[in-house]
Symmetry: C2
Subunit: 206 residues, 2 copies
DNA sequence: GAATCCCCTTACCGGTTGGTAGGGACGTTG
DNA sequence: CAACGTCCCTACCAACCGGTAAGGGGATTC
């Protein structure tokens, strides 16, 4: 039939998409499955039919995000040097598109919350990602001699610089106004690239 | 009486203290007033007696934190140059003591959540703080010519680098183990100082 | 055309939420 | 000793939470 192309995202996919947006906005405890379903014109039992529990739905959103993070690395051209690759990777994490902002916000929330419900072990989704960042940083000229602790601390600081922006966006818009926030938004990526370069070029502490 | 010195923090103060710890750990929606009260061996009605609503209690915690942030600036010696003052201020935000970690975590949560319940306007607590950081950055040699957007973007990036650590601490402990997390903790402050120096010395993007 | 499966519904469950009503123990003040 | 304010309690409320049970409509399969 004619639906072969349009394929109009399955209900299940739309549920995950909506859940991702709402979890990012209000957090796991701040959203009820009934609200997610209502946003799609359905009842919460439709959600439970597909995912069984709220936790499982949340886990699938997290899985999707972990997959995206892994995919980001491949987007960097293989010929470039380690410093440039790392720079590209970090900058690729941000951007204005809603799914990416949601990703940063959800990641921040997961990091904040997962100690509470650590049994779900959502944090392990991040482990390979962090490991690769550390490995890549070690390959940057001047950083090969740094300790693991130094490399990890630096990676954390860089991730913070990258993700804080997406998280604080709405607050800054409220404080400085829409147009000022937009101006900051426009130059954020290039300023971030500049900053990462400065940090990498300086090397670890002596 | 003999209680003049000990003064054993009033119930009200202990409530705010406990609320601060729990809100930082689990977020506004993740904690019930009954849980806060139970932690002190009281019932939730004791809390409601003192604060009326959960929101008001949360607001008082936020107020306390805003006061601390304002006080941090004064701790820097007045004789030093702008770059050093900014460095000192940012480094002063972190540290291992529980109240400071709570502060970073709570601030991050507030930034994440306040778009949802913006009417409470908790974000405005941050406005003077951010304004002062921007002003101070403009005073750093090489940065006087930067645009407002550049200054703000850089401040956001630096704040992210500072606060992400406190937020991600427990998750990293889970991933890398206690001793590795401790090692990272031990060098974090000096590595952060080094990083801030590198960013300030590089100046804004041309 | 009967059976089956998929998707989603209404109805309901026990438990928890923030908040209200009212009272009792205690110290202070007249 | 009576009145009062402070502080905290038990009892209760409607609303909402995540999840279970059971069934109906519609397409597919035999």
């Amino acid at each position: 039939m004619a639906t072969a192309f349009k394929t109009s995202a399955s209900t299940r996919d739309r549920m995950i998409e909506e859940a991702r947006a709402l979890f990012a906005e209000r957090g796991f405890y701040g959203v009820s499955i009934a609200q997610i379903a209502a946003e799609l014109g359905l009842t919460k039992q439709a959600l439970l039919h597909h995912f069984g529990t709220k936790e499982r739905l949340y886990g699938l959103v997290l899985e999707q995000i972990a997959g995206e993070l892994a995919g980001l690395k491949a987007s960097s051209e293989p010929g470039t040097d380690a410093a440039r690759q790392l720079q590209d990777w970090l900058v690729a994490m941000i951007s204005d598109t809603p799914p990416r902002i949601e990703r940063s916000r959800l990641l921040m929330r997961e990091i904040l919350d997962n100690q509470v419900r650590a049994e779900r072990a959502g944090s392990w989704y991040l482990k390979p990602f962090l490991g690769e960042l550390v490995t890549m940083l070690r390959g940057v000229p001047g950083w090969s001699g740094a300790s693991d602790a130094q490399l990890r601390a630096t990676v954390v600081q860089l991730l913070g610089a990258v993700n804080y922006h997406a998280v604080s966006g709405p607050t800054f818009r409220g404080i400085f106004g829409t147009e000022a926030a937009q101006a900051m938004n426009d130059i954020f990526a290039s300023q971030l690239r500049h900053m990462v370069h400065a940090v990498l070029a300086a090397g670890p502490e002596a």
